[in-house]
Structures are given as structure tokens and as C-alpha cells.
């Protein structure tokens, strides 16, 4: 299966996962950290899961609170995230260099 299209919003989500790769994350927590609304965040998570880049798990926290869906990148997802983020950073760096060169 080919890799999904990596949008800037997807990169933001991947960035959060890469910061703490082994931690299971909640949807609301991700939404707050990436400043993405549910209507944007969940299609990204669904797409990543569809490409087997994301694993999901239901967890029960404490009484009265319904079980929550948690997410973590798979090893394949983590590799793709690191590559994509690296490429993105180098692109950003070369753009900055080009801009500073134009200024001087």
C-alpha cells in the first residue's frame, strides 16, 4: 500500500506522535496540542490507521468515564513520520537559506 498524502496538518499530528513515540495518545489531547478541530484531526487519524501507520486501542480509565480510544504510531508509521518530518525540515531550511541569500 502506498503512503498517504502528507499535508501540513498531518505533519503536525505526526510531530506530536514522534515527540513521545511509545505513549498512547487521546484524540482530545492531540486536538489541543495540534490546534486541529475534530473535523480535521479524525480524518487524518482514520487515514493513518487505514494505511497501517497508526495503531488504536480502547482503554478504560476510571469509574464514570466511558472507555477512550487511544493512538500510537506503528514502527512503519514512525519511520514514515521521521522521514517526512526530516524532509519537511530540510525543505524549510533550504527555503530559509534561499531567502536569506536573496536578502544579502
Amino acid at each position: 500500500m502506498k503512503a498517504p498524502r502528507i499535508s501540513s496538518q498531518t505533519l503536525r499530528v505526526l510531530e506530536q506522535f514522534v515527540e513521545r513515540p511509545s505513549t498512547w495518545r487521546y484524540g482530545y489531547e492531540l486536538s489541543r496540542e495540534t490546534a486541529l478541530k475534530s473535523g480535521t484531526l479524525y480524518p487524518i487519524l482514520m487515514r493513518l490507521a487505514n494505511y497501517s501507520l497508526l495503531e488504536t486501542k480502547w482503554v478504560t480509565t476510571h469509574d464514570g468515564v466511558p472507555p477512550r480510544h487511544t493512538y500510537r504510531l506503528t514502527p512503519k508509521g514512525l519511520a514514515l513520520a521521521r522521514t517526512s518530518l526530516g524532509q519537511s525540515r530540510s525543505r524549510r531550511k533550504s527555503r530559509q537559506l534561499a531567502l536569506s541569500g536573496r536578502e544579502t
Binding site: 487521546y26 484524540g27 482530545y28 486536538s31 478541530k37 475534530s38 473535523g39 480535521t40 479524525y42 480524518p43 487519524l45 482514520m46 488504536t56 468515564v65 466511558p66 472507555p67 477512550r68 480510544h69
Partner: protein
């Protein structure tokens, strides 16, 4: 955390979205729902739910349009309409709600009136006889009026009865009951045998009015046209015509009794709750003038001018001035209020001899050294020349019609065709489903996916066409009501134009007009979209059938 109304609404919204979501997205739906319990702030929870519901709805729609897009759907690609799915009950509820909402429109009088107007295109296609038959509502009003000796209602019917014998009888009866209604003799078309008697009565009742003389002149014109003896020149006209036109030009006023007619119509419509706009406006949109009035007035004014010029050439300035002043006085009396297209056309015909007449008067007064009078008539001549140009532009614009009115009329006609079609289809569908299940309870009804799709399409079609009909016709119902309530007839010509368009069968006026072409273009695009959607649904159902046979 206590649940506020906003949070409850957010939960309900997401639950509703989960109900229609495909099975492979249920986990995600529940994930979004359960996150709500950990969220702070009700508004934040609501926005979260709205975003989530949007995602789930998109997936639900995609699962219908692209079969196989959700391969892990538990109940197969036909799940949305499948008998075992919760959507079956929801679909039945949607069909019932659409049908109920469509019937609710019937409570609005504007909608009922609009629907009746939309059906007039059929009337135009099926009625070829002339004179047209009287509408049942008008016939009922006539019977009531005769029973109760209601003079005004009889007059109202007489004005709208195409059969001359019948209209003469009704008008006579109305005038006998109420002698103040003699003006009816100027507005109702009489039997030829009664015409002369009616003119005499009118002349006696309103001796200063030019209208009876114009009616008499018209009768002479018609008689000449019928015998084929139409004079080439005005000077060849019979003495009777000359005398009656001279009397018309001597009159001090020209009253077509339109104000009386309008007041009578409003009273009768309000009293008898007569809601047929076609019948009401039949006596309203046209000025109540004889058809030959413009040409007779123009021809006579020209002949007066010619005789004035002849007198002037012989040095009889006093005699010429008398002729010119008679035409000028007539011109002032005839100045139209500009409300109706017919007024403008009339102005166009009569304005030219008037302009020439003012020029003659200006020149004559100048010769006599009366400069003030000469300037006044020169000014009037310039004004007449200017208004001739204005009237010509206005008449051309109004004859071309208004694109918005035409568009609205076409929308009303399309809705008027779709509504009975959808309602009929829905009725047959409902009867078939009830007969098959032998029950009237919603929960007990079972229907296949194809049957449900057909019922849903009919119900949505019925609701949409009802809404479009109501929205398109509502402004015209308001114009009509305003006319009945306040007598404001400023926009009645626009309404009259709209009614004229709705009498033309749909598609009959779409070939030569650019605005109509645009309308029919979009109508065809919409029809193609509906066909495409139908194709997708059929493909979806066929896929479902194949999946069912292979498992």
C-alpha cells in the same frame, strides 16, 4: 460533570451521526463521542461534536455513492436501506416527515393559490373553445349573488363573463338593483342590440364624460369594418362619427371608471373570499377604454389640425385658433397617469398630433405677438416630443417583459408539474407498502432497499417542489393581497405579466428568449444530475444484490 443542554445536544448530534455512519467508522464515531466526557467547556464540546458529525456524515454519503469504498461494512454495501439496518426506520420516518411537511404547506393560502396558478398551464393546453367557459368559482358566486340580490357581486361576474348575452343580462340586473352602477355599461361588453341603449343611458348619467362618445364611435368603426366599408380618410367618415367625435372633444373629462371598478372588485373579493387571481385581474390590468379610442382620437385630432391649417391659410386665424385650442384641451384631458402599458401605447399614438398642434399654436400666437402664450405652447411641444421618446422606450421595455417575472413563472410551472407527479408516486408507493405489510404501524412496515429509495426520492421531490412553489409564488400572493387590502395596484401589471406567463405551457416559451434559454439549460442540467443520482443508486443496489447472492 452535570450535563448542560449544549452538552446534551452535542451528545445527541454525535449519536445521530453514529447511527448513519458506515460500520468501519463506528469505532471512530464512538471515540469522538467518548472524548466529549473529558472535555471542558460546553461550546468546545459542541464544536467537537459538529466536526465529528460532519466526518461521519461524509463517510455515510460516500458509502452510498461509491459502493465498495467501505469494504469492511458489516452488513454489506446496501446497508443504508437494508431491512435489518436502523436506517430503514429512519428512512421511513424521513419519508413520513417530508410528506407531512409538504401537506403543511397546504395550510398557507398563498401556497394553495400558487398551486392553482401553476395548474393553469394545463388549462391552456386543454381549452380551445371561445368564448371560454366561466370558472366554477365564478359560477358559484353568480348563483349566490342572484339568490341574495347582491348587485356588486352580479356586476363583478358580469365583468368577467365572456358570453355577451349573459354579461348583458347580469349587468342589467345589477344596474336595476343598484342604479349607481350605470358605469358598468361602459366596461361590460354588451349584446349588439343593447349597445345603443346603454350608450344613451351612460350619456344621461354622466353627460360630461367623453367615454360614451368614444364607445359610440367605436361601434361605428366596428360596423364599418364588418361591412367592409372603411373610409380611407377621416373626412370621409360618416356624419354620425364626426358628430360623436366632436362631442368627445367637447367633453370636460375622460373617466374610464377604473377607480370604481377597482373599489368594487376589492369589496366583492374581500366579502366573498374570492381567491382566483386570474378572474380578479381580468378586469384590472387593462384600462377600461374602447379598443379604437387611441386611433379615433389620433385621427380626429389630425383632421382638426388639417382643418385649422386650411383656415389659417385662408387668413382665418381666429377659426384656426379655435380648432387648435380644442385639440390642446383634449390633449390635456387625455394626459395619462402612465401606470399601464396601454396608456403609454395610447400616448405614443396621440402624442404626435398633439405635438404638432402645440407647435402650430406657438407659431400662431407668435404671429399675433402674444409671446407669453407662444412660449407656453412651444414648451408644451418640447415636452410632448420628449415624452414621445420616453413612452417609446418604456413601451418597448414592457413589451419585452421582465426576466425575473419570467424566471419565477417558469419555476412555478416546473414545481406545479413535479408536485402532482411526486405526490402520486408517493401515494402509490405508500399504498403498495401498506398492502404488502398489511399494517399501518411504522415499526411493522418492511420494505426492500429499492422500494425505500423510491419512496424517499418521491417524498424529497414532493417537499422540494412544494417549497420552491411557495417561495416563488409568495411575493405575487403578497402583491395580490396588498391590492385587495389597500387598493395599491402599482405592481399589478407585474403580477398580470406573471399570470400571462404561467398560462403558457412549460417549454413553449423557451426557444426564442435568452433568459428562458438559461432557465431551461439549468433545468436540463438538474434533470441530468437527478438521472446520474438514480444511476448511482441503481448501481449501488445492484452491487448489494450481487454481494448477497455470492455470500
Amino acid at each position: 460533570m452535570p450535563k448542560t443542554y449544549l452538552r446534551r445536544f452535542a451528545i445527541l448530534l454525535l449519536r445521530a451521526a453514529i447511527r448513519i455512519a458506515p460500520h468501519d467508522t463506528l469505532d471512530w464515531g464512538n471515540a469522538m463521542l467518548n472524548e466529549l466526557s473529558c472535555m471542558e467547556g460546553d461550546w468546545a464540546a459542541l464544536w467537537w461534536a459538529i466536526g465529528g458529525a460532519r466526518v461521519l456524515t461524509k463517510h455515510a454519503l460516500l458509502s452510498i455513492i461509491i459502493p465498495g469504498n467501505h469494504p469492511r461494512t458489516v452488513s454489506g454495501p446496501g446497508a443504508l436501506f437494508a431491512k435489518e439496518n436502523s436506517m430503514r426506520k429512519a428512512t421511513l420516518s424521513v419519508i413520513a416527515a417530508c410528506a407531512a411537511a409538504s401537506f403543511l404547506f397546504l395550510l398557507a393560502p398563498a401556497f394553495r393559490q400558487g398551486f392553482a396558478v401553476s395548474q393553469m398551464q394545463w388549462h391552456a393546453m386543454t381549452t380551445h373553445s371561445w368564448p371560454r367557459s366561466v370558472s366554477p368559482a365564478l359560477k358559484t358566486l353568480e348563483q349566490q349573488a342572484e339568490k341574495t340580490h347582491d348587485a356588486e357581486a352580479l356586476a363583478f361576474v358580469a365583468l368577467r363573463t365572456p358570453n355577451q348575452t349573459e354579461s348583458t343580462r347580469l349587468a342589467d340586473e345589477a344596474v336595476q338593483l343598484d342604479p349607481k352602477l350605470v358605469w358598468l355599461y361602459a366596461t361590460v361588453a354588451p349584446k349588439p342590440s343593447e349597445a345603443e341603449d346603454w350608450i344613451r343611458k351612460l350619456e344621461q348619467w354622466d353627460p360630461q364624460n367623453a367615454l360614451p362618445h368614444f364607445i359610440e364611435a367605436e361601434n361605428i368603426d366596428i360596423a364599418q369594418a364588418l361591412t367592409g366599408k372603411v373610409p380611407q380618410h377621416t373626412s370621409d367618415e360618416s356624419p354620425a362619427w364626426q358628430n360623436t367625435m366632436a362631442a368627445a372633444f367637447r367633453s370636460t373629462k375622460l373617466d374610464d371608471y377604473h377607480d370604481r371598478l377597482k373599489a368594487l372588485d376589492r369589496r366583492v373579493v374581500a366579502q366573498h373570499d374570492f381567491g382566483d387571481p386570474y378572474q380578479v385581474l381580468e378586469g384590472e390590468c387593462e384600462p377600461c377604454w374602447p379598443s379604437y379610442l387611441s386611433s379615433d382620437a389620433s385621427r380626429y385630432a389630425k383632421s382638426m389640425l388639417e382643418s385649422g391649417e386650411a383656415l389659417e391659410a385662408h387668413g382665418d386665424r381666429k377659426g384656426a385658433l379655435k380648432k387648435y385650442l380644442a385639440v390642446a384641451r383634449f390633449g390635456q384631458m387625455m394626459t395619462p397617469d402612465g401606470d399601464f402599458l396601454m396608456d403609454r401605447i395610447f400616448s405614443l399614438v396621440v402624442n404626435r398630433p398633439l405635438k404638432e398642434n402645440y407647435q402650430r399654436l406657438a407659431s400662431l400666437y407668435q404671429k399675433q405677438g402674444e409671446n407669453e402664450q407662444a412660449e407656453l405652447y412651444a414648451l408644451l411641444a418640447r415636452k410632448a416630443a420628449q415624452s414621445e421618446g420616453d413612452y417609446r422606450i418604456l413601451a418597448r421595455q414592457e413589451a419585452a417583459g421582465d426576466a425575473v417575472t419570467r424566471w419565477n413563472a417558469s419555476l412555478v410551472e416546473v414545481s406545479g408539474l413535479l408536485m402532482p407527479f411526486s405526490a402520486g408516486l408517493l401515494l402509490i408507493w405508500a399504498l403498495a407498502v401498506i398492502a404488502k405489510n398489511k399494517s399501518l404501524r411504522l415499526t411493522a412496515l418492511r420494505a426492500s432497499s429499492g422500494t425505500l429509495a423510491l419512496g424517499l426520492s418521491s417524498a424529497i421531490g414532493l417537499l422540494l417542489s412544494s417549497a420552491v412553489l411557495y417561495v416563488s409564488y409568495r411575493p405575487y400572493a403578497e402583491i395580490f393581497q396588498q391590492f385587495i387590502r389597500t387598493g395599491n395596484d402599482r405592481r399589478i401589471p407585474e403580477f398580470g405579466e406573471f399570470l400571462d406567463y404561467t398560462q403558457t405551457p412549460l417549454g413553449a416559451h423557451g426557444l426564442w428568449n435568452q433568459a428562458d434559454f438559461v432557465f431551461y439549460f439549468w433545468l436540463r442540467v438538474s434533470a441530468l444530475c437527478v438521472l446520474a443520482l438514480l444511476f448511482v443508486v441503481i448501481r449501488h443496489l445492484a452491487h448489494h444484490h450481487r454481494a448477497a447472492t455470492t455470500t
